[in-house]
Amino acid sequence: MNSTEVAIIKSSSPSEAITDGIESLGGISGFVEKGDQVFVKINLRTPGGFPVNINFDTIKTIINLCKEVEAKKIFVGSYPLSRLKTDSVAKTLGIQSYIESLGAEFVFLDDQNKYPLKSVEINGKTIEFPKVILESDKLILLNQISVDPLFKCTISLLNTYSLVSNQFQKIKKNVRSGKDYLHLDQYKQDLITNILDVFSVKKPSLVINDLFYFLEGAGPFIYKDSNLKRTNLIVVGNDAVAVDLITLRLFEIDLLSSDILLEARNRTLGITDISNIKLIGENLGDIRLNVDFCVSKLEDINIKNTYVKSGRTCSGCFKEAYHLLNLMKTHMTKDLKYIVNQSFLIGEKPPKPESLENIILFGDCAIESTENREFRKIIITNSKDYLETAKKKLKKDFKAQDKTTIKEKINKKIVELPGCPPSRFDCLNTLISYYGKSQVPNLFFFNNLIKTYYNQETDKKTK
């Protein structure tokens, strides 16, 4: 396919925008046929509210459109965030009954008895893909656009990644000989390769980038610095790469600034030449969306009483640290006042901390590269005992007079958060045991809260 159509639609409601968008591309019958089995891939990240997950009114619109053309079966689903069960997310959102009331089926992808996996070979890798998706005639991506710390925006290509389980999403640190893992940002390269591998297994027939409400500032989860901006826009098409390209263009991000789209072009996974994309609806040149993207440096996350310093960091650690720092800023208001002073060091060879108290070393790089640094030890100088010195002076015992003892001790006010990257939720446990419950009451409460839905690994060794 050398050309494609992409619609940019502005409307007064998200559902109306989707209907108009699909209509402008020839109607739903151009994407779904009678008797088709359709899988609608949504965002289902955590048991949180909109826009962490998809807008539920838009799912209704899509299901109704599919029903209009008499689709045989409509499935809706996604894998949630790592170590979360679809069941707990679905229960918290009450999504199953809602989807069923609309005449579709909500799929618990992690229930392998009901929805078995099938091995798919791609680029020499074996990916376990849910059979229900592979066997569906059509795949529809309904994607909520928000800011993202690594890719600027949560474009639809990223959404496809949660078509496979977290086990296959995990990027293992694979240092190639003679190559600098950090300098080349191998983590991000591996991540992009994996995402595009998953994407190429089953290409979507219809892609909807919903940016009607756009989460700016901090995201894609809701943090203190998050702000929901109404743009009234959605972008629709059948080529995910082209739809993402146009979506990014709305934010004035071009192809060359997007690593993932560049790689998609190299692998010819979609149309990246804008002259081959026929635009329908709003004029691309007329829209300039001014939004606040995520910070590009962790130091820019302004947290009370916290001094953040980074060394050379991989994207994996950057992303996890970004989320951890934002969690701290959002859910530790009181704790940060009690802590008074803490230094957060991340990456290889980070600058020295502001003080010798409460030093958080985030990630293996920071821990290993600072093993012999000065702040690991504290020097204790025995203060002079003036009374004793005076007594000895009187006794004329000059030898003993100026004896000042200097001792070197291990600095115990350091908390290490190992891993590459460390899991942000595991870090919370470590921070609680370091600071103590009374020092971090907010964090203690928040940790108990996430325990209600998050499976915490207990075997992780943290100091």
């Binding site: 949180g48 509210g49 962490v52 009114d57 918290t92 009954s97 998050s226 208001t333 009451p441 409460f445």
Partner: protein, 516 residues
């Protein structure tokens, strides 16, 4: 045009205001006047001082006002009446002068461009009467009719009915824009936008609901200041009849009698309690209260999340400032050092003066944003277990956009729920979602829980103790009194944790750790 009793009373007020400066001790005058639109008779000097205090602060702080009564319909000249008040002091209406209605001509279209209209009227009045007006108040004829019918009912209605009638009138005046003031004061803008936030929710129904969940009480409020200490007595007595007996009295505080001096802002509250035969006396610093109110009225409606957080923070700061900005008799149990010491032995820190006003809003909003979302439709189902009438639950829809309330909607027509199992929140959610858009969360709250909360934290605040708080926590866990569907993690935590340890954890967040 205006009700004769209202007019008579208003002229009496004006007469008193005009002679205040020549009376030796106006406070001692035995005559009384009614507060306009209410059945309350008060000392005219108190009303004078109230106008002097509140009018410049909330309405207009400049002199001379022109009242214009206008038609509701399109006419060549919509002016029905012109009344000029020459005010020597801002807010003090002392002299009224009726002007010929032909002296100013206004068309309906001109009401859209009020600054131009004001400037024109101002120059006409200045030219004809040599007075520079600072404010115009435009009253549509229908507003006068509404006020007249309200005044007619006053003598026949109970206090409860009077409040309902007044609230209804205020709502109609604001909704239908029957009153304009130029320059528009913040309070009017605030009220107008608050009314437009409510869809189908009547002020009088809100009052009816609040009344139904409030137990009987008898309280005296001392709105305290050096300048104008005011006493406000509110008594509510639930009776066997459908409506309670409500009593509301406004008086000036006798400074000498109750040891009230400039240096002592805390008068003899116990003496007041005995003399006014009330259960409790609450003294509030007037200056702080007025500052809080003026900041509240300055707020845009719907307010941004940050603004709500700030106002909430200020309110909490006011609550924690016990002995500084407010005081009460009988003293709250939780302010007793010995009681605090004893419960501290059990690891519970309960200290009113250490309420974390700076951390609580962030904590609450963080939980709401994370678990409910920045855009959400919340359905509140108000139940009454004692009422077995089918479909009697009250349903209210709260629409949230970017973390702040965007619309409050009362669901009047509940017929679509007639075939739905009222006990199943899941079925209710699906039916309401069908009609009103996706319902993110349902909060089912029973009246008894609201009553218990009001009783524990407001009406009987002086009795608030660890046990009364635990009682509320226990009720929150019982599905017949409180339910959230789908169950969000904070509620799962509340349900799964033991009440006492949950309370300890929450108190460590809402109360500051350090004593000094």
């Amino acid at each position: 045009m205006i009700n004769h009793k209202f007019k008579e009373n208003w002229l009496k007020i004006l007469k008193f205001n005009s002679k205040v400066n020549i009376i030796e001790d106006p406070k001692e005058l035995k005559e009384t006047v009614r507060i306009p639109l209410t059945p309350n008779e008060v000392n005219p000097f108190l009303l004078y001082r109230l106008f002097e205090l509140l009018y410049p602060k909330f309405i207009n702080d400049q002199q001379n006002i022109l009242d214009i009564v206008i038609s509701d319909f399109e006419l060549d000249n919509i002016v029905f009446g012109l009344y000029l008040y020459e005010t020597t002091k801002p807010g003090i209406h002392a002299r009224i002068k009726g002007l010929p209605k032909e002296s100013i001509e206004i068309k309906q279209d001109e009401l859209r461009n009020r600054d131009v209209l004001f400037n024109r009227i101002q120059s006409v009045i200045q030219k004809d009467h040599g007075i520079k007006i600072s404010c115009i108040r435009l009253l549509k004829k229908r507003s006068i009719d509404l006020m007249n019918s309200h005044c007619d009912r006053l003598s026949k209605s109970t206090y409860y009915e009077f409040i309902q009638s007044l609230l209804d009138i205020i709502q109609i005046l604001l909704e239908q824009e029957l009153i304009f003031i130029y320059p528009e004061p913040n309070i009017l803008r605030f009220l107008k936008s608050s009314v437009s936030l409510l869809k189908g929710i009547q002020f009088s129904k809100v009052f009816e609901f609040i009344e139904s969940v409030t137990p009987s009480f008898n309280a005296l409020f001392v709105i305290n200041s050096n300048n104008l200490p005011i006493l406000l007595k509110i008594k509510k007595e639930n009776t066997k009849s459908s409506h309670p007996e409500i009593e509301l009295n406004l008086n000036l505080l006798e400074s000498e009698k109750y040891n009230f001096k400039e240096q002592n802002l805390l008068p003899d509250l116990k003496g007041l309690q005995v003399d006014y035969k009330t259960d409790k006396v609450i003294s509030i610093d007037q200056y702080s209260l007025l500052i809080f109110l003026s900041e509240l009225f300055e707020m845009e409606v719907p307010p941004s999340k940050e603004k709500v957080k700030l106002i909430f923070q200020k309110l909490l700061y006011g609550i924690r400032s016990y002995d500084l900005y407010w005081n009460m008799v009988p003293r709250p149990i939780i302010s007793n050092t010995l009681v605090r010491f004893l419960i501290r032995l059990f690891g519970v820190n309960l200290n009113l003066k250490k309420l974390s006003h700076w951390a609580i809003p962030d904590f609450i909003f963080g939980l709401i944003d994370t678990h409910i979302g920045l855009n959400a439709n919340i359905l509140i189902v108000l139940t009454e277990r004692s009422n077995e009438t089918p479909n009697s639950n009250n349903l209210m829809l709260v629409r949230i956009e970017n973390g702040s309330i965007n619309k409050l909607e009362y669901i009047n027509d509940k017929n679509f729920l007639s075939n739905v199992d009222q006990e199943s929140l899941e079925s209710i959610r699906l039916s309401v979602s069908e009609k009103f858009g996706f319902i993110t969360t349902i909060f089912k709250v029973d009246k008894l829980l609201i009553k218990t909360i009001l009783n524990a934290f407001l009406i009987n605040f002086h009795k608030t103790s660890l046990f009364s708080i635990l009682k509320v926590v226990k009720l929150l866990k019982k599905p017949q009194y409180f339910q959230i569907y789908p169950e969000i993690p904070p509620y799962t935590l509340i349900k799964n944790r033991r009440s006492f340890s949950l309370l300890k954890d929450v108190l460590s967040i809402v109360i500051d750790k350090h004593e000094f």
